[in-house]
Amino acid sequence: GESVGLHLPTLSVQEGDNSIINCAYSNSASDYFIWYKQESGKGPQFIIDIRSNMDKRQGQRVTVLLNKTVKHLSLQIAATQPGDSAVYFCAEKRSSGGSNYKLTFGKGTLLTVNP
């Protein structure tokens, strides 16, 4: 989910469990969505993305699900590992003419994986 104030939503899981991180978006005209992972002191790292004409997309150990009816995006991480501990945030591209490569970012969810 999205953050409120200075505190990020947090998710704590056990190593080996599956993780699900959620994101709500507001613009029904958004046509592209992306998930990033950000470790402390590093830049955002691309994980997976999806276009609005898709419901699901899979990568290596990750799956993104898009529910346009309720404007909801989720990131599933299979067999979560300690190295997956990071802040995860989603972004959307709001469909528009001209500068249509701009992304709008959520504030992120902190995932902690316990060994």
Binding site: R51, F89, L103, G108
Partner: protein, 116 residues
């Protein structure tokens, strides 16, 4: 494959000084972006560029200047630094990349700027 690089990685400056942050990408991506990241605000777009010599304002452009004379470089200048510009600055680029959607933005490692 160098990707996208930023320099300097860390910078301390004083109020009123001019500071330029550099960004360089090796993919020939047409789009480049500058963001700042602050606690409680997430990533906010400062400026972006669709191609060489084409730039436009983002969400928080005041106090910043950009230029793009070459496709691979997109410097960000703080004309007269203020304490409120203390932040982490990220550069990103997007464009046609083999096997990926062209909207995918790839980020640099960031520049941590402290304005005293």
């Amino acid at each position: 494959d160098a990707g996208i690089t930023q320099s300097p990685r860390y910078k301390i400056t004083e109020t009123g000084r001019q500071v330029t942050l550099m960004c360089h990408q090796t993919w020939s991506h047409s789009y480049m972006f500058w963001y700042r990241q602050d606690l409680g605000h997430g990533l906010r777009l400062i400026y972006y560029s669709a191609a060489a010599d084409i730039t436009d304002k983002g969400e928080v452009p005041d106090g910043y200047v950009v230029s793009r004379s070459k496709t691979e470089n997109f410097p960000l200048t703080l004309e007269s630094a203020t304490r409120s510009q203390t932040s982490v600055y990220f550069c990103a680029s997007s464009g046609p990349t083999s096997g990926r959607f062209q909207e995918t933005q790839y980020f640099g490692p960031g520049t941590r700027l402290l304005v005293l």
